[in-house]
């Protein structure tokens, strides 16, 4: 679709609106997905969806409705619903239109023609190559190859309009060997030609071989090198339980009441920046507000929260451009988390560990145990290695950890210079640009089954 196909019906809709203020956030998402395991493509699909969210404000009352189509009748019905809901709702002084300059904006290009033109035949050829490499190595391989794009448009009754087409691609692999070795690899990028499929496959296969025949060790407190995938999982949970103003409001964030106080090691700085080219650039939110660089933890000190217009107005701070939806009550959330790099390398970190673990990845983390203390539990997955006297000794069987991430991140022994972009293209749109982190103690509470 071109911009006019999108904006034409929505512009006409907004002109018809009798609300004091009307904002529309429309998004189209289209993907082709190949999901494979056991040397077969188990799912091959084309998915194309559209959502048009309409928010009407009448005085200090708001209503929202969503249409899954651009048809005039569907849009008109949704607009009527939004206005009816606003009229039936209760006044709320925090309900105001987003604050911006009111002029149209241009978003930097995140659209890659190579990804856009990537064909089904090329995708299957790539997967066939992955199968061949895995067969030769004697390991099983599973994963997904995804490519497609998004179109996002925000328009309002004040004349604001911004449109962003983007492309997305990813390759996710899990290689498993018969003797218990397992490894994971995931690359997400706007430009599919940035993914070296053979190199990713080769690395994943080799890592699964390194993880063969894992030994059992006792749970306990271990020094841990958390590789980017592991750190990314923890950050995703913190974005949900701690970094949004909704968690400030309900009092459940570990940052609440601790702004300006030390909550983590001074080596650690965590922020959100949707304009950083190292992330999946996403420079405005669904309210059309430009994303601001927002610190959550700066040099170990609690620094702030992500806001949308509603919560920004409530706290008198304005939006940081982190609205998640026009109709959800979930509150704002970061989408492009970045952890500042350090000056170590992963090999430096390994050399500094006397007795510890190298964690590739976590599985089924849950951060709802005690959010005020960022207490989480989860299991290791796809490669856990025992380190002794500065050397990786052998793979070990998976363990469950249960610990406060706030406390664990108070004891940081090193942060790598190299960072990796972590994102799950089959899940939500969040990304985390993160280094590896050495924590001097993470508590493991049991052995996996």
């Amino acid at each position: 679709m071109n911009r006019k196909d999108f904006s034409g019906p929505i512009d006409a809709l907004i002109r018809r609106s009798e609300a004091d203020y009307t904002i529309v956030s429309a998004s189209r998402s289209y993907r082709k997905v190949l999901r494979f395991s056991d040397f077969r493509v188990k799912q091959s699909l084309s998915d194309d969806i559209i959502g048009v969210s309409i928010k009407a404000i009448c005085g200090n009352r708001a209503g929202a409705a969503v249409a899954g189509s651009l048809e005039a009748s569907e849009l008109g019905s949704a607009l009527k619903d939004a206005i009816d809901i606003a009229c039936s709702s209760k006044p709320d002084k925090s309900v105001i239109p987003p604050s911006r300059n009111g002029v149209s904006q241009t978003s930097p290009s995140v659209f890659c023609p190579i990804t856009d033109k990537f064909s089904i035949a090329e995708a299957f050829s790539a997967v066939s190559g992955i199968f061949d490499m895995a067969r030769r190595a004697g390991v099983n391989i599973a994963g997904t190859l995804i490519f497609g794009g998004d179109e996002e448009l925000v328009m309002d009754s004040g004349g604001f309009e911004v449109f962003r087409p983007s492309t997305i691609s990813s390759l996710k692999l899990i290689a498993t060997s018969a003797d218990g070795g397992s490894a994971h690899s995931c690359r997400v990028t706007r430009d599919i030609s940035d993914i070296d499929i053979a190199a990713e496959t080769d690395r994943c296969i080799k890592r699964s071989c390194e993880a063969r025949s894992p030994r059992a060790i006792d749970p306990g407190l271990y020094e841990c090198i958390l590789r980017p995938e592991a750190v990314g999982e923890l950050m995703s949970w913190l974005s949900y339980t701690a970094f949004g103003a909704g968690q400030l409001y309900d009092g459940t964030s570990f940052i609440k009441g601790r702004i300006g106080k030390k909550v983590m090691d001074e080596k650690l700085t965590i922020y959100d920046d949707g304009k950083d080219s190292g992330t999946l650039v996403s420079d405005f939110d669904c309210e059309g507000v430009s994303k601001k660089k927002t610190y959550f933890v700066r040099n170990g000190i609690a620094a702030g929260f992500a806001y949308d217009t509603y919560y920004g107005n409530m706290y008198g701070l304005g939006s940081t451009g982190h609205a998640v939806s026009l109709y959800s009550s979930a509150g704002p959330m970061p989408s492009n988390i970045i952890i500042e790099s350090g000056n170590s390398s992963e090999s430096d970190m390994v050399r500094s560990v006397k007795r510890g673990l190298l964690v590739n990845r976590f599985h089924y983390v849950n951060g709802l145990l005690d959010t005020r203390n960022a207490l989480m539990t989860g299991l290791t997955r796809d490669g856990l290695f025992f380190i002794e006297d500065g050397k990786i000794k052998y793979p070990v069987r998976d363990l469950r950890f249960t610990d406060s991430i706030m406390d664990a991140f108070k004891r940081i022994g090193g942060i790598s210079k190299e960072r990796v972009l972590i994102s799950d293209p089959a899940g939500d749109s969040m990304s985390v640009l993160t280094p590896s982190i050495l924590v001097s103690g993470l508590r493991f509470t049991s052995n996996a089954g």
Partner: protein
């Protein structure tokens, strides 16, 4: 609309595909949220589209579109065929299925009062009333009340001749009370946490929920937890309330019994299963009183349907019988791998994604006696209620659950509350320690709306029937 899809089925038939089906789904949602006496959000959404699944040359292809017309439907047919042929080109294995008998008809889930006909004012007033009750205590910082309603109108056509329309109406709601004292934050939910209280029913279900009565209970318990002791660490007898037991069944029995997962289809996302085919009809999963069954025919549950998304009629079958593992949740394709027929568990979140093997209503058969009688037999232990956190390993063995509240049981009576309880275990060891299940009068189905599986992730609605039950020798603890 129907003629368009029947023509598409005819088109696919002429193309000579082995099998094809088309789903057209039209969904309307309404979400209403009140927090602290203000309207936090009210929204309505309408979504519709179609998905076409083709099996040809021994492989599957799927295509979907939100634009509905002759051109988009035929384009999707051709794209699904292209995907199937391309899939076929990279493997020598061939999918073999046995479609069910052709079915025709229109089916409606029960609904006495159309929830979309109830005025918004009435719904908001009800939520604000419950919210006001929670806010009556000074330590209650937040009272959150939500209602949600959905109508799904789904049509299914396949090359075996099926022509099925199913209309489901769903209603649900819950409240959360957050009490704070200094750094201590405690939460109580009613009737269940994480929004897990939805039924296939009309607005009459909301009327039966008694959110106002629940608000008073949630408020008092949340406040009591602010000064409660942490749950002590021990290995002891636990009585698990119905809603928490529902999630226990979900994670430690429902997911490992999904045959596609057993066969490795989910390894890149959720993992595998310890319930491998060699264990079927032999493996001791739990004690003699463990009887877990799938039943997609319970009229008022969101895990129910009349036909699954492959056109297989809904049914009931055992997963664990007298403690022995006896059955899988399966699809036409996965069942063929173990020489069986589908147990009718293929469902898709929406029109735009292909169906996967999903739980229906996975239930623990009730035993005898009341909850009070079960507690009465415990000399020293705890009662655990309402889920707070959940985590389980890739094989579905090592689990840890956190609950919102525990009560100490001493000499057969509930005494003081404990805060932040967790319990953990290994699935078959845990179920072998099941020593008592309360009776039918305590049994109810919990509708869980947020079961995640697949890539792209599909969030499915499932149900779990359970009554409170007692397990001995369970590791418990309290965090902080």
């Amino acid at each position: 609309m129907k003629s368009l899809f029947l023509e598409a089925i005819a088109y696919l038939g002429k193309k000579g595909v082995t099998y094809a089906d088309i789903r057209y789904v039209d969904t309307v949602d309404e979400l209403i949220s009140v927090e602290d006496m203000r309207v936090d959000g009210v929204s309505r959404s309408h979504d519709r589209g179609f998905g076409i699944r083709v099996l040809d040359r021994g492989a599957w292809g799927f295509a979907s579109d939100w634009r509905i017309g002759p051109q988009s439907v035929i384009a999707a047919c051709d794209l699904a065929i292209a995907f199937a042929h391309a899939s076929s080109s990279v493997t020598s294995d061939r999918v073999s299925i046995e479609p069910g008998e052709a079915a025709k008809g229109i089916f409606y889930s029960p609904c006495e009062i159309d929830p979309f006909s109830v005025k918004l004012d009435n719904k908001l007033d009800y939520l604000l009333w419950a919210c006001r009750v929670m806010k009556e205590h000074k330590n209650v910082m937040h009272g959150i009340c939500k209602l949600n309603f959905r109508r799904i109108d789904k049509s299914f056509f396949n090359t075996a001749g099926s022509d099925i329309r199913q209309v489901f109406t769903e209603s649900g709601g819950y409240i959360e009370c957050i009490a704070i004292l200094g750094d201590e934050v405690q939460r109580r939910s009613y009737p269940n946490s994480h929004g897990s209280n939805i039924a296939r029913a009309g607005y009459e279900y909301v009327k039966e929920m008694d959110l106002v009565g629940g608000a008073e209970k949630a408020r008092d318990e949340a406040v009591s937890l602010l000064r409660a002791k942490p749950c002590p660490e021990s290995v002891t007898s636990v009585v698990i309330g119905g809603s928490q037991l529902a999630l226990q069944i979900h994670e430690s029995c429902g997911h490992p019994a999904e045959l596609d997962r057993v066969l490795g289809d989910e390894v890149s996302y959720a993992g595998l299963s310890f319930l491998t085919p060699d264990k079927l009809d032999k493996y001791r999963y739990g004690s003699d009183i463990v009887n877990i069954y799938a039943d997609a025919t319970i009229p008022s549950s969101i895990g129910s349907f009349f036909y699954d998304d492959e056109g297989i009629k809904a049914g009931r079958f055992d997963i664990v019988k007298d403690g022995i593992f006896t059955g899988y949740l399966s699809s036409m394709e996965s069942a063929s791998h173990i020489g069986a027929l589908s147990t009718g568990c293929m469902r898709s979140e929406s029109w735009n994604l292909p169906p996967l093997v999903r739980m229906t209503n996975i239930n623990l058969k009730p035993g005898k006696g009341s909850l009070a009688e079960i507690i009465g037999d415990v000399k020293d232990g705890v009662l655990l209620d309402t889920n707070k956190s959940w985590s389980i390993d890739t094989m579905r063995l090592n689990f840890q659950f956190g609950c919102e509240i525990a009560w100490r049981i001493k000499d057969g009576r509930l005494t003081e509350p404990y805060k932040n309880p967790v319990y953990s275990g290994i699935t078959p060891e845990f179920w072998k320690n099941l020593t008592a299940i309360s009776g039918p009068e305590e049994w109810r189905v919990w509708g869980i709306p947020n079961c995640g599986k697949g890539e792209p992730v599909q969030t499915m609605r499932v149900g779990h029937g359970a009554s409170p039950a007692r397990f001995d020798g369970i590791s418990i603890g309290g965090l902080r």
